[in-house]
Assembly symmetry: C2
Homo-oligomer: 180 residues x 2
């Protein structure tokens, strides 16, 4: 029933120095260089996130936008939806999303870029710790009757399932709203 919930996790390494993300093009791939370790890595079921073939969830983490640099073939990147809160920069050829950026300086997550750590050959990015927007996978074709088993599987893999973000991040957002 469930072929693939999420790509195999990578282990977190404390002194990890960062690495590269690469799109799926065999020639002239877009390459993004990331300095330092990622944070808040999680499985994401939202309908806007790019996902590996056959996966119900992507892996999404954040890093400071100042620690992200497109080093190769930047001209192949295009913004998927200019009106979205998170502008997703995707490869025009293979469709892979290379990073997401927030332009709104008032947004609680402004300053952070969103990256899919499974696009890296390095193995030591921060591991996913929860699953977000789980119910949204129904929007992209998962049968509602499969959801109980999927939430159980996520839980058994140590990924507490949430239909929004995790309580920690939801509290961050609410705190930001309260202070503005």
């Amino acid at each position: 029933m469930i072929n693939k919930i999420i790509s195999k996790y990578k282990a977190t390494l404390d002194n990890f120095k960062g690495g590269e993300l690469k799109c799926h093009c065999l020639t002239k791939p877009v390459i993004v260089e990331i300095k330092g370790q990622s944070a808040h890595n999680h499985a994401c079921g939202c309908s806007k996130c790019w996902k590996p073939d056959g996966a119900l969830f992507s892996q999404v983490a954040v890093i400071s936008k100042d620690n992200l640099k497109v080093t190769n073939n930047e001209s192949k990147l295009t913004v998927i939806d200019d009106s979205a809160t998170i502008k997703r920069f995707a490869c025009k050829r293979c469709g892979v999303h290379m990073y997401g950026r927030i332009d709104n300086t008032e947004h609680p997550f402004f300053g952070l870029d969103f990256i899919h750590t499974e696009l890296s050959t390095q193995k030591s990015w921060s591991a996913p710790t929860f699953a977000a927007f789980v119910s949204s996978i129904i929007e992209t074709g998962t049968k509602p009757e499969d959801m109980d088993a999927i939430r159980q599987q996520l839980t058994s893999q140590g990924l507490a399932p949430y239909d929004c973000l995790s309580p920690v991040l939801m509290d961050v957002i609410a705190t930001h709203i309260a202070s503005h």
Copy 2:
């Protein structure tokens, strides 16, 4: 630290026939008559819901809009925010929200009215079974550092805390989106 999470629950009664909701005015109260039992009752922390004095959460349930009738002093009602998805009909004098209605026929919850069961003198409405929009109470003044204790207290009272709606209802919404 936490004075009052939610009003004391009422027990569910299987053959409950419904009852009345009354605003807080001592004279000429608005009275709303409800036929039959409520459903999906929950504690709600959202910033738009009316809450009893000193309570962090309201109790909100749904009933078919065809089973709701304003029987007394309807002229005292006003819509709090005409642009909101749920139009909340409140007493102009005491401020209590008597019911919420959705006009958008495409909305997954169209046809259901939202009511605060603690406005009733009847004691047998369906009891709350979860807590929704928990992180939102930070927006209205709760300290972020109190949230762990509040989530623990909700859990110990049998109200699983969610920062959106419950998985059951989130799946209903996603299923609706998928089919439109």
